[in-house]
């Protein structure tokens, strides 16, 4: 394997890993507090993608801003209407609920917008690329990594420096005790959903820029990959989710590059078979943090 191929793979892995880390964070944030894997996260991405593409004539900064607002509001409303009534139910019920919400929104999109895919470009700047030696780097890749790092830093600051951020961490560790010191359950949960909405919105931006075409299933892979990353990195731990995302990026690119041609399309099968194995051996995910014990 020559050096260029390796370097290109590294670049791809970093960019892909950032994207996956973003997806995984959205899922892990909610899971940490509510023990709920929000399948409908994929539809938050879908809403964002459609919003971007349907506002084609609006200046870019306004499109992005409004899209973010729309997705965040959708996330908070989703929690209020669909998840609050089942709060505290067993994990399987929660999973089915999120599945049902996901299915509902996916098909609501068809009902309202029709089944045809919508196309739209986000920005020609993102489609361009530059070269470092023989390695091709898309502007989009750079933006992905930069934005992800910015979001991670922002989130870290939020969780350690703001009152509600600390409350969220407390709630994620021990919801009941958090309430006993006065943490408002509803407020913390709504905030968590709002943030996951923000993460979904950014993911939508990056995916739409990449794909150029939006269908109602644009978010489905997001959630599945996020779920894999979360399992790999340790469920419920935000650091684990990020780690899992990057790990998944590396694994993905490695599999893609190293699998013999005939097996390459089976990449997903390998991935999920690996997830199954991880769940068998370590039900809490590969990296178990202290707060995890006895969770799953």
């Amino acid at each position: 394997m020559n050096g260029t191929l390796i370097m290109q793979s590294v670049v791809d892995a970093i960019s892909l890993g950032s994207l996956y880390a973003l997806f995984a964070l959205g899922i892990a944030l909610i899971f940490g507090i509510l023990q709920l894997i929000n399948f409908a996260h994929s539809e938050l991405v879908m809403v964002g993608a459609f919003a971007l593409v349907l506002m084609n004539d609006v200046p870019l900064w306004l499109r992005i801003l409004s899209m973010i607002c729309i997705v965040v509001v959708t996330a908070v409303v989703m929690e209020r209407i669909a998840f609050r009534p089942v709060r505290g139910a067993n994990p399987a019920t929660l999973l089915i609920t999120s599945f049902a919400v996901s299915y509902l929104l996916q098909n609501l999109a068809i009902l309202i917008l029709g089944p045809e895919p919508r196309s739209g470009s986000v920005s020609t700047f993102l489609d361009e690329s530059f070269q470092v030696g023989d390695i091709v780097i898309l502007h989009l890749d750079v933006v992905t990594v930069v934005v992800t790092i910015a979001l991670l830093v922002g989130l870290a600051l939020f969780l350690t420096r703001t009152a509600i951020g600390v409350q969220m961490r407390a709630a994620a560790e021990d919801f009941r005790t958090a309430r006993l010191v006065g943490v408002r359950a509803n407020r913390v949960i709504a905030t968590a959903f709002a943030i996951s909405g923000l993460l979904a919105a950014i993911a939508a931006l990056l995916l739409t820029a990449q794909a150029g075409v939006v269908t109602n299933t644009i978010g489905v892979n997001v959630v599945l990959l996020a779920f894999v990353a979360t399992i790999l990195g340790g469920m419920g731990s935000l650091g684990g989710a990020v780690l899992g995302g990057f790990l998944l990026g590396v694994v993905s690119v490695t599999l893609q590059a190293s699998l013999p041609l005939e097996l390459r399309s089976y990449r997903d099968a390998f991935l999920f078979a690996a997830v199954f194995l991880v769940l068998v051996i370590r039900p809490d995910g590969l990296i178990v943090t202290r707060a995890q014990r006895g969770r799953v």
């Binding site: 009152a163 600390v166 409350q167 961490r169 407390a170 560790e173 021990d174 009941r176 005790t177 958090a178 309430r179 006993l180 010191v181 006065g182 943490v183 408002r184 359950a185 943090t289 202290r290 707060a291």
Partner: protein, 249 residues
């Protein structure tokens, strides 16, 4: 301050608490004791709102608070130190303390109080930036109580404060509770360690199979033959008391 009337709590069809009534006057220290499974923790859980009460009325400061969510009760002046401490292990000591003040908005005063608490509890002060999981059992109990105090509660409720702690540490905990009582904090305490609790409290209730079977002042209970033999076992030698308590602990 706190008044509970005819509380009934069921887990499914099984009644865990069957018609419990008691009260705690302002400034008083009251203990609820009884064997394992008597319904002590369930009673507390129902008062605090963690578990729904099937029947009965809970009043705090004259206001009916039955079925209120825990976070609302805290804002009304009731603070619970749960069984097993339940400090936030992944958060630092300071973060744990700040969380105790969640319901308060006077930042400056909170900071002053936190500083005072860190001085009062040197162990906590030393480890202030460490994650609370690194504290010993006794230190965690101190943290849990300190945290509960930061909400400036009218009433402090403690569930099994001596559980899992070494005897010397238990002494320290009760010393602290004594200080608090001296400062006028109303205290309700649930304990399996009946001796300690009854000696400390002004009045106590004995719970058995979800009902109050005995109640009275410490003097009355300690003089009650059945109580002494069933629930006290051996009274600690240095408790300094065999007959009615006269000195303030």
């Amino acid at each position: 301050m706190l008044r509970v009337d005819d509380l009934v709590v069921r887990y499914g069809r099984v009644p865990a608490v069957q018609g419990v009534s008691f009260s705690v006057a302002e400034g008083e220290a009251v203990a609820i004791v009884g064997p394992n499974g008597a319904g002590k923790t369930t009673t507390l859980s129902a008062i605090v709102g963690v578990v729904p009460a099937a029947e009965g009325v809970v009043r705090l400061g004259g206001v009916e608070v039955t079925g209120w969510a825990p976070e609302r009760l805290v804002r009304h002046g009731l603070s619970l130190v749960p069984e097993g401490r339940h400090i936030f292990a992944t958060l630092t000591v300071i973060e744990n303390l700040r969380l105790g003040a969640t319901v308060r908005s006077d930042r400056a005063a909170v900071q002053t109080e936190i500083d005072a608490l860190l001085e009062r509890f040197p162990a906590l002060g030393r480890l202030r930036r460490q994650s609370a999981g690194k504290l010993s059992g006794g230190e965690q109990q101190q943290l849990a109580i300190a945290r509960a105090l930061l909400s400036r509660p009218r009433m402090l409720v403690l569930d099994e404060p001596s559980l899992g702690l070494a005897p010397l540490v238990i002494d320290q905990v009760f010393e602290l509770l004594g200080e608090l009582r001296g400062r006028g904090v109303t205290i309700l305490l649930v304990e399996q360690n009946a001796a300690r609790a009854v000696l400390f409290a002004d009045r106590s209730y004995v719970l058995r199979s979800g009902r109050v079977v005995l109640d009275g002042t410490s003097a009355e209970l300690l003089g009650h033959a059945d109580f002494v033999s069933s629930y006290l076992g051996v009274v600690p030698a240095d408790a300094g008391v065999v007959l009615p308590v006269e000195e303030a602990p």
